[in-house]
């Protein structure tokens, strides 16, 4: 089976699996959906991973992290209770943090856990606790256009991965479209001196506060504006709700 055939088959299976897994009012076919999605992920892994006997452990670690990330992502999107969705999304974040560490992006791995899983997700859970009515609501048990959206996602994934693994357009070029693009342009020594250097934070901070200094300032301003905006939204909403209650009181009174 060529890569392209495997990608097409995997995308179709992924779309069908996601459609069956999405909430549709009942719980029929969820097991079949999970099976189809698992087969699709296995096919994607078959396309991507060529086990290298010298790096068996590294390959196994990558497969474990990727499987954690993708499986929990599917869980976060398809489960019916929003609290479970948030918890599975936390597992996705841990998986991506592991993937960042696998790439040598140490700061990002830690920052993802602290900022995303620690702050953003906990805020989401707070809002869920404040706002969630008791039990499963009707709108959590059905989805909009489940088949169409699953098909959209499957087509997108298929196209993106087919671009990466497309057969070479030129005879004799090395397999894969990426391999020809940059084979051997960056040597291992270059990488060890720059992006994989032991002084990771020093390099990253140096880049951030020299070349990207203006962007850092703009990001700080953006955070301030977002803070003011959030406060304004809440305050205005409160004022509007208060005025509405007052009017209702006048009508009744």
């Amino acid at each position: 089976m060529t890569s392209l055939q495997a990608i097409v088959a995997a995308s179709v299976l992924l779309g069908a699996g996601l459609w069956l897994l999405l909430p549709r009012g009942g719980s029929t076919g969820r097991g079949l959906g999970a099976l189809l999605a698992a087969i699709a992920l296995g096919l994607f892994a078959y396309v991507v991973v060529r086990i290298d006997p010298e790096h068996k452990i590294g390959d196994a670690v990558f497969l474990l992290l990727a499987a954690t990330t993708i499986v929990s992502a599917i869980g976060a999107v398809t489960l019916r209770s929003p609290v479970y969705c948030a918890i599975w999304f936390a597992l996705t974040l841990l998986g991506t943090a592991g993937l960042f560490l696998y790439q040598g992006a140490q700061f990002l791995g830690v920052a993802t856990v602290v900022v995303y899983a620690g702050a953003i997700l906990v805020t989401f859970l707070f809002v869920l606790m404040l706002a969630q009515p008791k039990g499963l609501t009707a709108y959590d048990r059905v989805s909009w256009e489940g088949m169409l959206s699953a098909a959209t996602g499957a087509v997108l994934v298929g196209l993106l991965s087919a671009i990466v693994f497309a057969p070479p357009p030129v005879e004799g070029a090395p397999s894969g479209s990426l391999a020809g693009a940059a084979a051997g342009r960056v040597s291992a020594a270059d990488r060890d001196a720059e992006i994989l250097s032991p002084q990771h934070m020093a390099h990253l901070g140096g880049q951030l506060f020299s070349r990207h200094l203006i962007a850092v300032e703009v990001a700080g301003t953006l955070l301030l504006v977002a803070l003011v905006g959030a406060v304004a939204i809440v305050a205005q909403g409160k004022a509007a709700a208060g005025a509405a209650a007052l009017q209702e009181g006048r009508q009744h009174g």
Partner: protein, 147 residues
């Protein structure tokens, strides 16, 4: 390890995360789950960016992911304020409540009636009773030293 293969793997994981997040954003109706799916799409982009940054031996990918983190924090703050306000007005987290602001040429969404799902029976652990029930000191319990 072969760097091309490493890049291919991370691009694949990024594409899958983005696609699954897209499916969730398009199909779910709970506003909070929709925002979780949007964050998942951002994660997919981040994974791809870090992969490209390592491949080209360039810090730009990781720096951009740091900015994505900042923007995601802003987005979460505003989104949650909005969701809370919308919830206070309608009492629901359903986006279909707000369909009156759709384009005028779009058909109205009609909710299908679902059969009621019986609530799951919860089994809590029970301790076996033993001994005699002690007499409750009612006088002491309702006594107030000052009013």
């Amino acid at each position: 390890m072969d760097e091309v293969q490493l890049l291919e793997r991370f691009l694949m994981v990024g594409a899958l995360l983005f696609g699954i997040g897209l499916v969730g954003f398009l199909s779910r109706r709970n506003m909070i789950v929709m925002f979780l799916a949007a964050e998942m799409m951002l994660q997919g982009i981040s994974v791809s960016l870090v992969g490209w940054g390592r491949f080209h031996n360039d810090w730009g990918g990781q720096i951009l992911v740091i900015f994505i983190l900042a923007v995601a924090a802003c987005e979460a703050a505003i989104a949650l304020a909005l969701v809370l306000m919308l919830f206070h007005r309608s009492g629901k987290l359903d986006v279909a409540v707000w369909q009156s602001i759709r384009e005028s040429n779009q058909p109205k969404f009609v909710d299908q009636q679902l059969p009621e799902e019986p609530a799951a029976v919860e089994h809590w652990p029970v301790l076996p009773q033993s001994g005699v029930e002690p007499e409750l000191p009612v006088e002491e319990m309702i006594h107030r030293s000052h009013v």
